[in-house]
Subunit: 407 residues, 2 copies
């Protein structure tokens, strides 16, 4: 597998476009479209929130129906959640505009929205945006990057990545983009992500691969514990790499899963490190747990705790907060088995040894915690399973961003 | 029932003391003792955190053994959690010091700690503190207030309350104090609370009353979602009111439960409103839910959400965040049944009507949300159960307090 430049337009046959639709933001792009020259097998994972945005319900219909997907239209600024029938009508109008411009059946057009909940989308602006973007679709890497920028809300950086890998002598490309910074919590795929590949693969395997990979990537990040109404991760596979179609599990399927894992972990970590107001990436690695579920639960509890996150922000070696978070996570364990370490490029330091605090070098601890990427490493000594979760610190800026986000 | 002045020393036979033991804080009291002239029936509820502080384990032994309780010694500054055998030895040394000074069997002495996790308590300072306090025990209301102040950590106000009520012609008094500001989340009784009463009641009924009342009071508050290692709520009943002992449920038991509910709700709301960095009390009231559990889950999810809390801080009428939190709470419901209102002393405003956002007066919304106590009122239209939860807003000061709490 090789990392290459680009994002959603890296794979063969995919084009992207964006425009300034003036939905809520001014003087910036706020709509994007991704289009495949061929109908694609598709798969998706969606928010577990009972209050699902209209666009989530729209996309679920496509993914679960078995219909192909050929385009996705995304807007930032308004989430189209809690909007009743009018919100669903906006999805349909957007998809029908794509049908009119590009001849793609509207039932093969996904839509996604991110922004304020409880406001109606301006349908005319969306339709005009589709018309404009249909004329500027472009397969260049720059077009993919521009789309990744258009879907940002409070993100400070755009997120995209692409890789190539070999399937039975054919070079396959997989690329993707994502956005997400607030309302991020691992009960699902977490915010908006769009993956494109020219791989030929059966739909059911595409879905299984995506659902499996999400568990250890997008579902292992958290920014603020708030699971969005809009979380959507879609993958489109158009088959233009001309590999012999993957129709069963085996070495080729595993090769694809590895590439998919890399792409999803890359995007997930970028989202965690770019959490609202974040100043650093906060990683928790739990090893030797009794079960995989325990390892995931424990590591996520550490990075999800407000008190842990505030301590990481303050470079405060308050390791009891990590143990406290593990303790209320729901996983059962004995604190007398646990070892806890701080790690970063500045060094590694043990602070807790099987039930007892260690007297440690405070200056070294502060130095380790002062790095841009900090890891809490926990050895449970109770089994052989491990998991890693990613989050960010809790800062003044998080509060600032969210105290006046809508206004 | 009548609200009277005082706290833990309001009921007959209870004395309190405090001292400056210099455990971590300087130039302030940091130890307190509550003592009853008679052995008491006792009951307690404790943290559900797997990582339980040594003092929690100590107190559980007393409550679950059926032994009487006659004194409780509390310190602030260090939590005595994650401290191994040395931590448990500190509990025993403290209780034995009380035995030596006051002749109370050490197995009848509860201990409680709050502060930094993962540091050992200075046992000699604790023992000296017990010696000093044993000489200054006092039944005045002022002594109770001084004790309530000594157990504070990041609290900005001390919390105490007392009431009297009649049981079969006898006047019974119930008083209490609590502390708690951070690491507060409703998986249990939440932080430290100590209740004293001169009621005569069977132990099993005392425990049942406390466990029931906690569900709708202390367990319905949240500050930051972090369930502490130390949460402890104890009640001691010494029988000095000389009422005919309550040995079964009936009108007298219900009278006591009403008074207990009032006292617990009063203290719980004080703790929520005094959450770390909080500028206002944030209440969520859910009515007409399918079940009591659903009502509790939904109301707690609203006040626990960081995004909701930040919106309340910013007086931002971003009602979608409340619906979003309800949606990921775990309760099942249809957003097309839900009505949502903002309430405070400034007025009442509907913002969401059965699946559809309402165009509302933004200025009025900001005015309502600008009050010191704000309620999100939700009518589920799906049943007849209701619940209320309390929390606070998320402010810059919360981050500030927790980024350098230990340092």
């Amino acid at each position: 597998m090789k990392v290459i430049d680009g994002g959603v337009t890296a794979a063969k046959g995919f084009q992207a476009a964006c425009c300034e639709a003036n939905i809520k933001y001014k003087n910036r792009t706020d709509m994007a479209m991704v289009y495949s020259s061929q109908p694609c097998e598709c798969a998706g994972t969606f928010t577990t929130n009972v209050v699902k945005a209209a666009c989530v319900q729209w996309d679920q219909k496509i993914v679960y129906s078995g219909e192909p997907m050929q385009a996705v239209v995304i807007n930032s600024g308004i989430a189209n959640a809690c909007t009743g029938k009018e919100g669903f009508d906006a999805c349909e109008a957007t998809a029908k505009a794509v049908e009119k411009e590009l001849g793609v059946p509207f039932s093969n057009v996904a839509v996604a929205s991110t922004g304020v909940i409880g406001m109606q989308l301006p349908v005319e602006k969306l339709v005009n945006g589709v018309t404009a973007m249909s004329k500027t679709l472009d397969e260049s890497l720059e077009a993919g990057t521009a789309a990744a920028k258009a879907i940002m809300t409070t993100d400070t950086i755009h997120k995209e990545v692409a890789v190539t890998f070999e399937i039975a002598g054919k070079t396959v490309t997989l690329g993707g983009m994502s956005k997400g910074s607030g309302m991020i919590h691992p009960n699902m795929c977490t915010m908006l992500g769009f993956l494109t590949t020219d791989l030929a693969i059966e739909k059911c395997l595409l879905q299984e691969a995506l659902s499996d990979v999400v568990k250890d990537t997008f579902n292992m990040i958290t920014v603020d514990g708030d699971t969005s109404t809009n979380d959507t991760l879609l993958i489109m596979a158009n088959g233009l790499a001309e590999n012999a179609k993957i129709i069963e599990k085996g070495i080729e399927y595993e090769t694809f899963v590895s590439a998919l894992s890399f792409v999803c972990e890359y995007l997930a970590k970028k989202m965690a490190g770019d959490g609202e107001g974040a100043s650093k990436l906060f990683e928790a690695k739990v090893v030797n747990a009794k079960s995989k579920d325990d390892a995931r639960t424990l590591s996520r509890a550490i990075v999800a705790s407000n008190l842990s996150k505030a301590a990481i922000y303050g470079c405060d070696a308050n390791f009891g907060r990590f143990l406290c978070a593990m303790g209320y996570s729901g996983a059962q364990f004995d604190q007398n088995d646990v070892e806890l370490f701080f790690e970063s490029k500045e060094g590694r330091l043990q602070v807790f040894d099987k039930g007892t605090p260690i007297v440690f070098d405070e200056a070294l601890a502060a130095k380790i915690l002062g790095a841009e990427e900090v890891t809490i490493f926990v050895d449970m000594h109770e089994g052989s399973e491990e998991a890693t979760a990613w989050g960010c610190d809790l800062t003044y800026d998080y509060v600032k961003i969210n105290a006046d986000y809508r206004s």
